[in-house]
Symmetry: C2
Subunit: 286 residues, 2 copies
């Protein structure tokens, strides 16, 4: 018996999928976790009634949060992923043989457990010996962890509501900058560039107070509000368009969305957003 499951976006628009069964529903210490079985999107992960990922369209998001950063960061030996409990981002990161260790800091152990059980097509790299999963608050980790700095930090977090609000603050970003090597790159999702332009701008501004160079980039994510998403690429000195040809060529053999041309196209800023950015870069705060 099929029925609709809708994500209600601020009570203004909604996106729904027809689901055939609820594979899991439960409440962790942090959030409500739901896994739906659908015909079109395959299995869908929902946290607090917001679609997080689906088997059908997860490649858009996971490839785009990963490869624009991993093909341009000068070194990619040590990678930190904050959030990303479904396992899709660390899977993409671990496709690079140059990556020697990935630390994933996820606050919600149950999201990982549910994902391992129900979303095994997404999290295919849990057993990679280079991966270490730490169940902890990413905000605390960024501020306090005494570890060697990372080449790359990817923030694969939720929308800025509830417990995830702290993931959008300057003090958290300063923690990330603290953990990042001088020539490192910090990449993060920054919401819909159509519906949440103000949030994108605000995150960009906050980052630009810390990193000399912050660039937005864009791509489709059908299951997210508006179907278009944005990410930010923050760095002290790396050029986000200087794609490592060898790394990109390897990804082009396996990716569904990403290739080196898509990489460059993703950094093009739509006309109405240009005033937020200066030559494709977030304007530094006055």
């Amino acid at each position: 018996m099929a029925d609709w499951y809708d994500e209600n976006f601020h009570d203004k628009s909604r996106f729904g999928v027809k689901y055939t069964s609820v594979l899991f529903q439960g409440r962790s210490e942090f959030q409500e976790i739901t896994v739906l079985e659908t015909e079109t999107f395959g299995r869908v992960l929902v946290l607090d009634k917001v679609f997080m990922t689906s088997e059908f369209d997860e490649h858009f998001y996971h490839e785009m949060i990963t490869h624009p950063v991993l093909t341009t960061a000068p070194s990619i030996e040590r990678v930190l992923v904050i959030g990303g409990g479904d396992g899709g981002t660390v899977r993409e990161v671990l496709t690079y043989p140059e990556v020697q260790s990935v630390t994933m800091v996820e606050i919600d152990r149950q999201v990982v457990e549910v994902s391992k059980r129900y979303l095994s097509t997404i999290g295919t790299a849990w057993d990679d010996p280079r991966l270490q999963v730490i169940f902890a608050d990413g905000i605390d980790y960024a501020k306090k962890a005494e570890v060697e700095p990372y080449d790359v930090i990817l923030l694969d977090g939720c929308d800025p509501v509830g417990p995830a609000v702290g993931l959008f603050t300057e003090s958290f970003y300063r923690g990330c900058a603290r953990l990042l090597k001088e020539r490192g790159v910090f990449g993060l999702q920054s919401e819909s560039a159509v519906f949440q332009r103000d949030i994108l701008a605000q995150i960009g501004q906050t980052l630009a107070a810390i990193f000399p160079k912050v660039y937005p980039y864009f791509g489709p994510v059908p299951i997210y509000a508006s179907g278009s998403w944005s990410w930010l690429y923050a760095t002290r000195e790396v050029d986000p368009l200087a794609v490592n040809g060898e790394r990109a060529a390897r990804q082009e053999k396996r990716c569904k969305y990403y290739n080196a041309d898509i990489h460059r196209a993703a950094f093009v800023v739509p006309n109405a957003l240009r005033k937020l950015f200066d030559n494709g870069r977030v304007k530094s705060p006055a």
Copy 2:
């Protein structure tokens, strides 16, 4: 009293907007016409329960069906628009001072009348003396009209269901080719590249039997299924990336989405679609 209006996409997914009132609902000779008032999308035009356009997001679609063609076609004096009854496409076309005449062939007079009355922010060029509106079947027109050939033909039609099926046939495209100057360009919408890849491929193949060069291009349209859309650029010899700098510069002063960099980015083919296309071009039929 607000309620939801959903577009049900093949009973697999749906997209809904919260509407505050139904401004118009009626049945023409061809289809059911609805205009909703919404908070987020402004006024929304719905034909046969499928979202056609909205005040909030219409610029994505209308800019992208128009400017990639109009900034690259060598001559743009005579333009034919088939469909496009809301008036958004002819509005964009008429922003070019080089355009001397636009013929719009729309099958459904009532769509134009309803759009003039309720969507006046979209159709702002109805009174332009260069515009001639003909209420007729675009298929007949393409096959039989005895007119001077056009520099540009834009097909701004519905999905390939019901009366619009004929807009996706080889015989119709041959009619368009007949009406197109040797160095002309034919542009058309070609459905979602995420959900309807097979239709995009099929339209591309059909066109490639007639036009030596057929290129897909892509962009966001939040109100359409999947939020991502595709268009096809069909021509005998024109280079779709040879943007006329002067024309593009003028558009960059007024467009919300389009600019010359977006133009080039739009023609980049996502990795999984590359096998459908050869170096960004539809492969000619065997």
